[in-house]
Symmetry: C2
Subunit: 173 residues, 2 copies
DNA sequence: CAAAAAAAGGACGCATACTCCCTAAAACAA
DNA sequence: TTGTTTTAGGGAGTATGCGTCCTTTTTTTG
């Protein structure tokens, strides 16, 4: 694999549960919460892609469709905010979904700055068909946890998201 | 904000803790583990950027420097694997760090396919200076949790990452 | 009412994180 | 040794997720 051997415990094998030697020092990657969260996010994207293989839709795209499913229409900013992405990122996602015919976009009559986005009948059908695959991906992510741990995990992660909401570039609510 | 009102509970306000009406149905975004993980990852990137404002380094870049800090040298693939990113993503990150003089790269003598990557003295200094900021970002992420919850959270997230490791495009170990 | 502030969106650029396809080099097998 | 397969890396293309600068439109304020 490598021509030169690894000498430290930064790898997963050497890391394990007891990575912090002195207090809270985050010496190796597996003791850094942010690192683990990034890895878990990667994994969820992977699981989602696996379950939705033929559909070719991403988690964020599905989240947008989910929000619009139960709404008459939303401007791009509100839509982006409610799925928790940046305004400019959201605009890109919307553009692709419009191109695929899953969303429709029109200039607002009452506020000519705003684009009103709606889900199309095709988009609605798509959501109906994809929901089981999405749920399988969600379940596989937390499957390694016990029943009790799953609720606990959701509680804790919600607490962190709510408390640090303003730190994100796409604060919600 | 919007010209048309939101009618459903997909938003954060209506969501809360009791989002699942029938069994495990993930009806609203705040009940979807994958969604919450994506948000938490966003937040960590935001916190990291905030703490390291003047340094202009990302979490993945710092992870790479961290790994190379304790190692003689690594080929690009091994380096990417040990920080948990895809081979091609890793190559891009390395390219930027080389451009900034924090890493050095040379063709291996023993295997002329491989690029051996090393941290430069400047990179080493950089890591030393940045570590406190990185640790502040890590601490702020889990600060909303109680002392006991923090260890529990790390346990659980490690369990999920290890069990689903192969689902990611950048499996480790 | 006119000037200023705010808000929505577009356009461009950067960084992560993949895909697929390609070349070159090494390892392995017949 | 001669093929075949594996491995390392590069290049092109796509998607998220941000920043910044800019225009247009609306709202607010003096």
């Amino acid at each position: 694999m490598a021509t030169i051997e690894k000498s430290t415990g930064e790898g997963p094998a050497a890391a394990g549960k007891a990575g912090r030697e002195h207090g809270v020092s985050y010496r190796d990657l597996w003791s850094r919460p942010g690192y683990l969260v990034r890895r878990l996010h990667q994994i969820h994207v992977g699981l989602f892609a696996e379950e939705c293989a033929d559909k070719d839709l991403t988690p964020v795209q599905f989240a947008m469709l989910s929000v619009l499913y139960g709404v008459q229409g939303l401007d791009q900013f509100s839509l982006s905010t409610s799925v928790g992405v940046d305004r400019t990122s959201g605009a890109d996602v919307i553009k692709r979904l419009v191109r695929r015919g899953l969303l429709a976009r029109e200039r607002s009559e009452t506020d000519r700055r705003a684009n009103i986005v709606r889900i199309t009948p095709a988009g609605r059908t798509f959501v109906d068909q994809m929901r089981p695959a999405m749920e399988r991906a969600q379940n596989r992510l937390i499957e390694p946890l016990s029943e009790g741990e799953r609720d606990l995990f959701l509680e804790m992660i919600r607490k962190m998201v709510e408390a640090n909401n303003s730190a994100s570039r796409a604060p919600m609510g």
